[in-house]
Subunit: 192 residues, 2 copies
Amino acid sequence: MRLLEERIIREGRILEGDILKVDSFVNHQVDMQLMSQLAKELAARFASEPITKVLTIEASGIAFAGVVALELGVPMVFAKKHSHLYIDPDLLMAPVESFTTKNTYNAVVSRRYLSPDDVVLIVDDFLAAGRALSGLVDLCRQAGATVAGAGIIIEKAYQHGGDTLRASGLRIESMARIASMDPAKGTIEFTS
Amino acid sequence: MRLLEERIIREGRILEGDILKVDSFVNHQVDMQLMSQLAKELAARFASEPITKVLTIEASGIAFAGVVALELGVPMVFAKKHSHLYIDPDLLMAPVESFTTKNTYNAVVSRRYLSPDDVVLIVDDFLAAGRALSGLVDLCRQAGATVAGAGIIIEKAYQHGGDTLRASGLRIESMARIASMDPAKGTIEFTS
């Protein structure tokens, strides 16, 4: 979406370590009007799917996932990040390696809130290597739920996590797809 | 709000250690339609205040704070929880002791997103001892921002954290106020 791309160009800051900082409108301060517009767009793209639930992971996916769920008229579930592994038959768990910290945490969801009757739209703010998204898909498979696809605010297309997941059959709709970033010049190019 | 009270009675589970589990509709699976109705009610109660920002803390306050911000037409900012203290002149920090874990973490907000020009509505899912809310008020004071008040989904009124903060001059609007819970009988009473 051009609206989002323009905002990323205007306010995004490229930091060392391949980090795109969009904390003025996406993941620290959040422009909820923009999130709501993106949610309408995403809901329209998945209008033909009988979605029963929106799934995200704490914390920065929650604001967007909430308004997507509101738009679709279904509940939102957010997976929690647990640093310790403990066995609980009521919980679904999937290990995820963090791109930023390199630590591995467990994405955890109660079995109460994901079932074989669910058709799930997975939502997150960023898609880069695709580890968090893979973990959420894993949780859905463990629950026997159907994954309708994934909705992402910003995909770093040059990291190819999205390509790999698409090749495995996952439908992914990203509101902005970054082709390249130049930290020296501060420029950002999008896929056409 | 009767709507919320009825939902708490129907779905809330009282666990050992004075814990009210509402994770089927508030803080793991989230009923966004309900959140949106509560947000409209909260926005109406603060309609006379020139609010410029909604402030919450990750993770379980974000879904509600997001739709409150949407209702008010202002950005939402969520404070992050940092377990380590490190000095960064760009960050505002306030220590908060967790009621559940007894650990102390730092509530952290970038100075970029709270300023003396801001009139802030603080939002959270629960108010019990009032520690998280006090920490968020502290962050606003450090920023020189004005606090219009606080909006809470569920207040455990019998823990008196809310009373203490009200006595200090903070306006708090809670959508449901619990007077008592009986874990043996599984009953919940609300303040009238």
